[in-house]
């Protein structure tokens, strides 16, 4: 490929050896003090100048590793080249070939562990800011109204039901309509987006962006139906029977929040991160009483979260924005082991979240009204690595201490929601209750039923769920095409649909 023509105003491209020395462009963010009081987005996004300067750092490796670090294999080198050429809309369209939610993943992916984690620039300076560039071009196409949606082939005559409208379901829906299949997404809640609308806060992912991405899928022909709890309102058997679907993709998410199993968890003032986040994000409790759903009073209160993942950080930063006087993160290992995105940890620290690491609550103390007043905690030290490869936290005897608290949010992960499994005869699960699916095809033990995302893996990330959605879409496409061949159905789509899995890498 020839070197792109620089747009006016762009500096002449430095040599690769020079690029290795260029500093990474910083993401502009709102002032840490001001942003801690409202729910507006923290990051402001790159502008064209910053984007061109950052894109100029790309080494354009002959064998790029970044796209293999990406669970949906975005062609990073190609889209960065388009950025450099000033074709921002083209860059966004390039990403969209592999990723239906670029404005979302540009904001919430743990890039440091994925595309940026393999970037060669990291050896000298810092990895290319791929996530920031992705966000920039996705926002650019939205702002300029240049979203170019992929072409939809003629109808295949096949119908796919997708259960759950989170990242796995949306990614699968995007790929399946692009192969000519009719797709209907069923959502249990009243809004489309799953964790993108109930879990991730406005200050990290504005809901307007999710709505626009869903609207794009609608324009591509995806149908959505809310208020349908599959397993209750409709069963999987009904979807494959009287509802007339040829295949089902179960992407219902992980579900049930775990608690710690320590005394005092039933006190008023103890809740799951899911509850706090659902009230605030889905139900807009931060706008109470303009919106009806209330949330625990945080104004002037001492609030803590237990956990070290993105959900824990989202919850405690939400409590801060609700007016908490003190906002503390309690984590039993050290900061190095925290599974959260690096940027979120950094932002939380800037905002004044106190990190109480190597600490584990052992008992929650209440008053005579049944309200939380304190947590008794134990100091920990790191021992030998455990099954996760991280050093195991070991309690230090005699180290107990109390911290006064009005609200404790528990972000200790999730366990499988049993509703679909328990109402679908013959659907195999693993020993933890998650749906068992073939790692390659995501096929379940039931013919025509596929499953992916958190309901198979347990709680993970948006992009891993999207990767599962794409994998399932490819497998479902192949299943439908071969089924129509066997069934002798006149299938215009069998030819129209591209040979799915192979061309996706």
């Amino acid at each position: 490929m020839s070197t792109p023509t620089p747009v006016p105003g762009t500096p002449v491209r430095p040599k690769p050896s020079e690029r290795m020395k260029m500093p990474r462009q910083e993401m502009p963010a709102r002032d840490a003090v001001g942003r801690g009081h409202d729910f507006d987005e923290v990051n402001l996004g790159f502008d064209p100048t910053l984007s061109l300067a950052e894109a100029a750092r790309c080494l354009e490796c002959a064998k790029p590793t970044c796209m293999h670090g990406c669970p949906v294999h975005v062609d990073v080198r190609a889209f960065v080249r388009l950025v450099l050429a000033g074709d921002f809309a083209g860059a966004a369209a390039k990403i969209r070939e592999d990723n239906v939610l670029p404005a979302v993943t540009g904001r919430v992916c743990p890039q440091e562990d994925q595309c940026e984690g393999t970037c060669l620039l990291a050896k000298r300076t810092a990895p290319l800011a791929i996530g920031h560039l992705e966000r920039f071009v996705a926002d650019w196409e939205r702002a300029t109204g240049t979203v170019s949606l992929p072409k939809i082939p003629p109808p295949s005559g096949k119908r796919v039901a997708i259960v759950g409208s989170g990242p796995a379901g949306l990614a699968a829906a995007g790929d399946l309509v692009q192969r000519g299949h009719a797709v209907r997404v069923f959502e249990a809640l009243h809004e489309i987006g799953g964790v993108l609308v109930y879990g991730i806060p406005e200050f990290r992912l504005p809901k307007e962006i999710v709505r626009e991405e869903v609207e794009n899928l609608r324009k591509m022909g995806v149908e959505f139906e809310t208020n349908v709890v599959v397993g209750r309102t409709l069963t999987v058997d009904e979807l494959l029977g009287e509802e007339g679907f040829d295949a089902v993709f179960l992407a219902v998410g992980a579900g049930l929040p775990r608690f710690l199993g320590i005394p005092g968890e039933h006190l008023i003032g103890v809740c799951s991160a899911n509850e706090l986040l659902t009230r605030v994000n889905l139900m807009k409790a931060y706008l109470f009483p303009e919106y009806d759903e209330p949330v625990y009073e945080c104004r002037g209160k001492a609030v803590a979260v237990v956990g070290g993942g993105n959900t824990a950080l989202d919850a405690i930063r939400t409590a801060l924005r609700l007016g908490a006087r003190e906002a503390t993160l309690i984590y039993r290992r050290s900061e190095a082991e925290m599974p959260a995105r690096a940027e979120e940890v950094h932002h939380a620290q800037q905002e004044g979240i106190r990190f109480l690491t190597l600490t584990d609550p052992v008992e929650l103390l209440g008053n005579d009204k049944g309200s939380l007043v304190a947590a008794r905690c134990r100091r920990m030290e790191l021992g030998e690595p455990d099954a996760s490869g991280r050093r195991r936290p070991v309690p230090i005897p005699g180290s107990d201490f109390e911290i006064p608290l009005d609200l404790l949010i528990i972000a200790a992960g999730t366990s499988a929601n049993p509703v679909v499994q328990s109402t679908t005869p013959g659907l195999a699960t693993d020993k933890r209750g998650y749906i068992a699916a073939d790692p390659e095809t995501l096929a379940t033990s039931r013919h025509g039923v596929f499953a992916g995302g958190d309901i198979v893996t347990g709680g993970a990330t948006v992009i891993l769920a999207m990767g599962a959605g794409r994998k399932a879409a490819a497998a479902i496409d192949q299943f439908l095409v071969s089924a129509s061949g066997v069934g002798g159905r006149s299938a215009p789509a069998a030819g129209a649909a591209p040979s799915g899995p192979a061309d996706r890498g």
Binding site: L189, T233, L256, L282, P289, P294
Partner: protein, 290 residues
């Protein structure tokens, strides 16, 4: 959008609605509930399905106006619509031929117990019903419950109708007079706790339906967790019915008060300016079948 096809008061502040929701109506079993959201700014609240008709695709909901959302809902009429309605949620009631079953319904709890009482009757149980209310005009569903009960006793706290006093007094008499194989008690937390303490020493299996605070109703938020036999159970997916002898009623009562201040503020604001919410209510689409 879920159109309301019938709405009538059964008692002051207690209103019966029939709402079009064909899929829910088709699958619903006694003991299950729906989550309802009235308009775009509304909260999600659980309401037990009192009855349903697969034929006309409706579910029956009986609503007592206590907080903002229930009081707002009680102002709705046929031609209005509920914005969101999801269900049927929760595990259905356990219904078998147990022998003699006593159903105790306190206040609007009678509406929650009603469908299961009907099912007990249909399963061939001898059914003894105790229907309690604060005062005469709050006694609901007496003819409906009498129709399926072998014996029905009404009690009122103030003695204005039926037997004066609490439901537990009548239940104690019934248990003294004959062998009772199972009790279903649904009503205010103190009533359910009192019934549990009454039946515990006699070893009579007693089931209660718990009305803990819910948001999503599908198991995701854990707000509805209750302490049952010392462990956390989610009322929305593990319940709403539990063994009364294993429920920690103190924790339940405390947790149900968690949002009281906000709830009161919300109600006061609504009563001062009901038009702000009423103008958000959607009209039912025109093609509502009769």
């Amino acid at each position: 959008m879920f159109p309301i096809v019938e709405a009538r008061f059964l008692a002051p502040e207690i209103k019966l609605f029939r709402v079009q929701a064909p899929r829910v109506a088709r699958r619903r079993l006694p003991g299950q509930f729906v989550i309802v959201r009235l308009h775009e700014h509304g909260e999600r609240i659980p309401l037990t399905i009192a009855d349903s008709s697969a034929a006309d695709g409706t579910v029956t909901l009986i609503v007592q106006g206590i907080g903002k959302t229930t009081k707002l809902m009680n102002r709705l009429e046929p031609g209005d619509a509920v914005l969101d309605l999801a269900g049927p949620l929760g595990k259905p009631s356990e219904v078998e031929r147990f022998g003699t079953v006593a159903v105790v319904g306190g206040g609007v709890g009678a509406a929650i117990a009603w469908p299961t009482a009907v099912a007990f009757h249909q399963a061939g149980n001898r059914l003894l019903t105790v229907l309690g209310a604060r005062t005469r005009e709050l006694v609901i569903l007496e003819p409906e419950l009498a129709a399926v009960s072998d014996r029905l006793v009404v009690t009122t706290d103030d003695g204005s109708y039926g037997r004066p006093g609490l439901v537990t007094g009548v239940l104690a008499e019934l248990m003294a007079a004959e062998r009772i194989d199972r009790v279903l008690a649904i009503g205010p937390v103190p009533m359910m706790r009192a019934v549990a303490e009454l039946t515990r020493p006699l070893g009579v299996k007693t089931i209660v339906s718990l009305n803990s605070i819910m948001v999503d109703g599908t198991g995701m938020c854990g707000g509805c967790r209750v302490l049952v036999a010392g462990s956390s159970q989610f009322a929305c997916v593990d319940g709403p019915e539990f063994d009364a002898h294993e429920v920690d009623f103190t924790a339940l009562a405390q947790r149900n008060a968690a949002y009281r201040e906000a709830e009161q503020a919300s109600l006061a604001a609504f009563l001062a300016h009901p038009e702000r919410d009423l103008c958000r209510i959607h009209a039912a689409p025109l093609e509502v079948p009769s």
